[in-house]
């Protein structure tokens, strides 16, 4: 019994390496009175938008690497279902109010055509502040509203699509080059 207690203490001291919930379960099974703190496995999920999606995606990838790297065969990693499951588009969820980074690929006078990695591009007006900084190849921050603008009109059998996404331009991405110059 004493040896068991020693083992459990060692285990609890190294709990940062093992998964927390495993340790808690073993605790509960051996010492029913011992109720360790709730294993709150949900870290900072309060962040919204692309930042959260990116972090979640890289978190998942790390956990996947540690626990399932040996189990997963090379075929599973490249199957379409697994590629889709771990893609940023799936992790993002609904497109409403999500912040993404896009790249301007075409400009017509004041209209900027921006590609952010979805099926369609979005078209935004050149903002009045820092207008000349928006050139082809600039990276910008966008707040997505919809991935594809579609609507079913009265009397139609199929939706009418505009072949465009809907997003609001938030601003330029300040790259390291511009920072060091200033």
């Amino acid at each position: 019994m004493a040896s068991l207690c020693k083992v459990m203490r060692n285990v609890s001291s190294r709990s940062s390496l093992l998964q927390k919930h495993c340790v808690c379960i073993t605790h509960r099974s051996l010492y029913s009175s011992d109720a360790s703190g709730g294993d709150d496995k949900s870290p900072e999920r309060a962040k919204g938008g692309f930042a959260a999606a990116y972090e979640l995606h890289s978190d998942l990838q790390q956990r996947g690497d540690q626990s399932a790297a040996r189990r997963m065969s090379s075929r599973d990693e490249t199957s379409f279902a697994s590629l889709l499951r771990h893609s940023a588009l799936m992790q993002m969820g609904p497109a409403k109010e999500k912040v993404v980074i896009g790249k301007i690929f075409h400009i017509v006078n004041d209209d900027l055509y921006i590609d952010f990695g979805g099926k369609f591009h979005c078209v935004c007006k050149r903002p009045p502040t820092d207008g000349q900084k928006y050139q082809r190849g600039s990276r910008v921050r966008l707040r997505l509203e919809d991935m594809e603008l579609t609507s079913r009109f009265l009397g139609a059998t199929i939706d009418t699509t505009l072949l465009e996404a809907d997003a609001t331009l938030m601003g330029l991405i300040e790259s390291k080059d511009t920072k060091t110059k200033e």
Binding site: T78, S79, F80, A81, L83, L84, S87, L89, M90, G93, P94, A95, F105, D115, G117, G118, K119, F120, M147, E148, T150, R152, I158, D159, T160, T161, L163
Partner: protein
């Protein structure tokens, strides 16, 4: 619109390219002009590739991961879906259809294989698309592989009335590749129906709002994103060039002058 029309189709058949009887018999009356292969060597050049499942090793040209990164799996919204595309869809995520890339890979492999065989046997291939965004890309792709493109307004009797609109005895394409099967008002491109009428095999990139029925080799995939279109153009160009190079190589090996 004469500018966009096939430049070399109006050939009088003095020196016919070998037209494969296996693939299609055209409604035109050039059965007398199609020369039957004389020597056993020429026959071997033509028939041996047909016995192999992947003679041109086209499976090494793309992987599912490449298709995924080119955003080929993204479809339109659920409301735009065509009923006949449902078997090709993996599912629908938050109202957006996702195309099953495992099926797309098989269909694309078949389409590329067929294109390679047609190019190997000296067939005429026509690239068609009515998307203005990719018109230039498709025209340059066609030029780079020595084939033809038609990305402008499709005149009514282009295929069905060719002997009157051009000259009698004009040679029609042996394969038509549709990089987008819809025209600008979201109706099916007239060329699909006309090619079916003229017994010309077609390949079409069908998105989730397209009708795949009349197309011989449909390839379910995204036809709206530039990355995806560039990928398709690159794949077809590589296939056609590979097949033509192989043919030239075989002809040189056998020591016969290429029958033009």
């Amino acid at each position: 619109m004469a500018a966009g029309v096939l430049p070399r189709v109006r050939q009088v058949l003095r020196s016919p390219r070998l037209v494969s009887a296996v693939f299609s018999c055209h409604g035109q009356t050039f059965s007398s002009a199609a020369a039957a292969p004389d020597t056993a060597a020429t026959e071997k050049i033509l028939n041996f590739p047909l016995t192999q499942p992947d003679y041109f090793h086209l499976s090494e040209l793309f992987t599912i991961k490449d298709l995924f990164e080119a955003r080929v799996h993204l479809g339109h919204k659920k409301g735009c879906r065509h009923r006949l595309m449902e078997p090709y869809l993996f599912g629908s995520r938050l109202d957006t259809d996702i195309i099953d890339l495992e099926q797309t890979a098989e269909h694309l492999q078949r389409a590329l294989n067929f294109t390679a065989h047609v190019a190997y046997r000296g067939g005429i291939i026509l690239f068609v698309s009515r998307r203005r965004q990719f018109g230039h890309l498709i025209e340059t792709t066609a030029r780079e592989c020595g084939e033809y493109a038609h990305t402008r307004y499709w005149k009514g009797g282009l295929l069905t009335n060719a002997s009157i609109q051009y000259s009698p005895g004009v040679r029609l394409p042996d394969l038509i590749l549709f990089f987008s099967t819809l025209n600008n008002v979201f109706q099916q491109h007239v060329g699909i129906r006309d090619a079916a009428k003229m017994n010309i095999p077609t390949m079409g990139i069908v998105d989730s709002n397209c009708n795949p029925s009349l197309i011989t080799y449909p390839v379910p995939g995204n036809d709206d994103t530039p990355v995806a279109m560039e990928m398709y153009c690159r794949l077809f160009k590589m296939t056609i060039n590979r097949a033509k190079d192989k043919r030239r190589q075989m002809e040189l090996l056998k020591g016969i002058s290429a029958s033009v």
